[in-house]
């Protein structure tokens, strides 16, 4: 009896050990939130094991087009997941979060020495500022729309992605810039949370690339209350479903 139990346990354990990990590609801005989601999912499904690969949306799309073995792809835009479905490389796709754009100037104070946390910060801004490359990053595209409406001749520095904008600002090389709210949940200094109706928005979509059962379960879990709480706690809005 004991031997038989031991046998069953051994088979069970080895089946877990041999389960192929779900490989998830994620746009850099969502990586930390995804890790929290995966850990939360794992706490409910102990057999879930996963690997996360993060890069920019463009790079990951390229890799997937060339047959990279990903099961899920969390993009920072809606264009590429839709493209993957059209190309037959993804089974389905859906919105999982809306990114929020923040104009952040940590050391800026107004005439009275107070922080500014409304649109006047951006309206009166004339120094050099940074945003992500609009060709590569949806957050950059949103920022560019605002910059074009403003059309003053402040010098603009393009970063590779929102993380790099954050780097430029936090090292003090540039006084302000457009970052994703998700990069930091509480911004020190002056900042302006850009209302969603001022730009096209950053709709982030996820594509399901394989028919691995664990990948499908995790994909469906994104719509659960737990997942939505984690997503909003990390500086994203929920898609209007």
């Amino acid at each position: 009896m004991v031997a038989r139990l031991a046998c069953i346990v051994a088979v069970f354990v080895s089946s877990i050990a041999l389960a192929k990990p779900v490989t998830i590609a994620v746009a850099a801005n969502f990586k930390q939130t995804l890790e929290l989601l995966a850990e939360d999912f794992k706490s409910q499904h102990t057999e879930f094991n996963y690997r996360i690969s993060s890069a920019s949306t463009g790079i990951l799309y390229n890799q997937i087009s060339h047959g990279a073995p990903f099961d899920l792809f969390f993009s920072a835009d809606d264009i590429r997941p839709k493209q993957l479905v059209e190309e037959g490389k993804a089974r389905q796709q859906m919105a999982y979060a809306y990114g929020q754009l923040v104009f952040w100037a940590p050391n800026f104070l107004d005439k009275n020495g107070d922080k500014v946390t409304d649109s006047s910060l951006w309206d009166n801004w004339e120094q050099m500022y940074a945003y992500a490359n609009p060709k590569l990053a949806p957050y950059g595209l949103a920022a560019e729309q605002l910059a074009k409406q403003k059309n003053n001749d402040a010098k603009i520095v393009l970063a590779n992605n929102v993380s790099q904008v954050f780097q430029f600002i936090s090292t003090g090389n540039v006084a302000a810039g457009f970052v994703a709210r998700s990069i930091q949940t509480d911004f020190n200094g002056s900042y302006w949370l850009v209302p969603q109706d001022l730009h096209k928005g950053v709709a982030q979509h996820v594509a399901l690339l394989s028919d691995e059962s664990q990948a499908i379960e995790f994909y469906n879990y994104l719509l659960s209350e737990n997942a939505q709480t984690i997503i909003t706690e990390n500086g994203y809005l929920l898609p209007k479903i």
Binding site: G58, A159, F168, T171, N173
Partner: protein, 230 residues
């Protein structure tokens, strides 16, 4: 070729040329000292010079970004002298390239100085040739091939510089958008035709630079010994 691509190519060539000239001016005395010195400090300096070969360029770039900050010593000093900032400027790229390509210029010149027969130098001494004249009319001409290798490698290495520029450049057309960055942009935004064009330009320039090097030195051994990496 679009205007932006021409601009990127011209900017890269300008950056590589200026960095190369500065490195030759600064690197030659350093290489000579390393070749001739018996000092205990020598190996430490040699190791420091070779560090950019080992450090990942993005890491080097990240520390430069911190170093260029307006509240750092270097950033303040530059601001005081020129009134402009180092990050996101062409001057900043020149500064970074000089650091990044230093071993590629110093090492070939150093080994060329080292390979001069001691007998030749002794003969010059016997002829009562003054030290400066020895240097100008004996040592420098004999080390000529080392200088050519250093120039070509320094130039080619700076031309392909990517990680460092990505961290400190800010992708400004005509100021910091070099070939490698423009190429990366095209690949990321799925504009493959433009990417292929720029890649061909880079390949062409690099191939001829290396062909020239091998032609001049006539031996692969020496180029290998200065740590060329692809």
């Amino acid at each position: 070729m679009s205007d932006a691509e021409y601009q990127a190519i011209i900017l890269s060539v300008k950056l590589a040329t200026i960095s190369c000239l500065i490195l030759l001016l600064l690197g030659t005395p350093l290489a000579w000292w390393l070749a001739r010195s018996q000092s205990k400090l020598k190996h430490i300096v040699e190791a420091v010079v070779a560090l950019p070969i080992v450090l990942p360029p993005t890491v080097l770039g990240f520390y430069l970004l911190i170093g260029f900050a307006p509240n750092s010593f270097l950033g303040q000093w530059w601001q005081a002298i020129t009134g402009s900032q180092l990050a996101f400027s062409f001057s900043g790229l020149v500064f970074a390239s000089c650091l990044y390509s230093l071993p590629f210029v110093v090492q070939p010149i150093q080994s060329a100085f080292k390979q001069i027969e001691p007998g030749v130098l002794d003969a010059a001494k016997v002829l009562r040739m003054p030290r400066w004249k020895q240097l100008l009319s004996v040592e420098l001409p004999l080390a000529k091939s080392g200088f050519i290798v250093a120039m070509v490698l320094g130039f080619a290495h700076t031309l392909g510089e990517f990680g460092v520029v990505l961290m400190i450049g800010g992708n400004i057309p005509g100021e910091t958008q070099v070939i490698a960055i423009a190429l990366f942009d095209h690949v990321e935004s799925l504009n493959f035709a433009a990417a292929h064009r720029l890649a061909l330009v880079l390949l062409g320039i690099s191939f001829f630079a290396l062909l020239l090097t091998y032609g001049v030195t006539g031996a692969k051994k020496r180029v290998g010994s200065v740590g060329v990496k692809f």
